[in-house]
């Protein structure tokens, strides 16, 4: 996480993804183990946050994602930040449909 936080701003999404995965762990844990699993993943999340702060700017690097998202209007003209446009069938739509189809068959 420390290396990631010094290379690229996407590390904040890494922490968010860990949160989603932790919810999965909690959901599937037996009721008796839930408290222990919650404690483990909360600790993991806290450590990931601390690890992300090990960079020349400290916690400020985490704020960059929030600042970028707060740009609002400007993001609509930056291609990589623009919302996905589903009005045409591109590679993204095809792969997503394929993956959804696969998930439906496999489930």
């Amino acid at each position: 996480m420390t290396l990631w936080a010094n290379l690229h701003g996407s590390f904040t999404f890494g922490i968010a993804i860990a949160g989603a995965i932790a919810c999965d762990a909690l959901w599937n844990a037996p009721a008796s183990a839930r408290l222990r699993v919650a404690r483990q993943w909360l600790l993991f999340g806290a450590l990931a946050l601390v690890a992300a702060c090990i960079n020349p700017y400290g916690p400020e690097a985490i704020l960059v994602t929030a600042r970028t998202i707060a740009l609002g209007e400007v993001l609509t003209i930056v291609t990589e930040w623009r919302a996905q446009d589903f009005t045409y069938l591109g590679p993204f739509e095809l792969v997503m449909l394929g993956a959804l189809g696969f998930a439906c068959i496999a489930a």
Binding site: L7, I17, I21, F44, V64, E80, P91, V95
Partner: protein, 176 residues
């Protein structure tokens, strides 16, 4: 099991162990052939310029030292390590060095993805999924900081999903 069957299954296991490396090596060769296309992003220049600034000043900026319109405004080079890496390989190996670094990071990412998927899937579905991932990622395979973070993204998400699948505790010694 007969000796023949044992030999066959060990051969299959060998070829599966080699697959992530083959994917990575094949992709690396492809990306090196496509070299100039990895440089098709104007921001590569600014990242290298910032990397040089950091190397020259032996410190990271807190004000924008390079832009025309926002010069001197509060700004942080939060991707400083990528910028220093690109500036260093550019000094050492020119533009070829820059392409080689970005191509290495991208191919390592797909090698890692192959390795994670092979734990659950047969080689053919794995290759289809890796190909689909490549289709999605290919427009973004550019010599920019995000491509250096890509192997870490795969490693992070792959490892976390694996520990949850196996109902293990998070991957750190003090989280047990």
């Amino acid at each position: 099991m007969s000796d023949q069957t044992l030999q066959r299954s060990s051969r299959i296991a060998d070829s599966q162990a080699a697959m992530p490396w083959l994917v990575a090596a094949g992709l690396y060769a492809l990306l090196m052939l496509l070299g100039p296309r990895l440089l098709g992003d104007p921001d590569t220049y600014s990242h290298i310029a910032m990397g040089r600034w950091i190397l020259e000043h032996r410190s990271v900026p807190t004000n924008d030292p390079l832009s025309l319109t926002m010069r001197g405004e509060h700004w942080i080079a939060f991707e400083w390590l990528s910028q220093v890496a690109y500036a260093t390989v550019q000094l050492l190996g020119g533009w070829l060095g820059v392409v080689a670094l970005a191509a290495a990071a991208a191919s390592a990412s797909f090698g890692l993805l192959t390795r994670f998927l092979l734990r659950h899937w047969q080689p053919v579905p794995t290759l289809i999924a890796v190909l689909a991932a490549f289709v999605l990622v290919s427009p973004h395979i550019l010599a920019r900081p995000h491509i250096l973070a890509l192997p870490l993204i795969v490693l992070w998400v792959g490892t976390l999903i694996r520990v949850v699948d196996e109902q293990r505790s998070p991957p750190c010694t003090c989280c047990r």
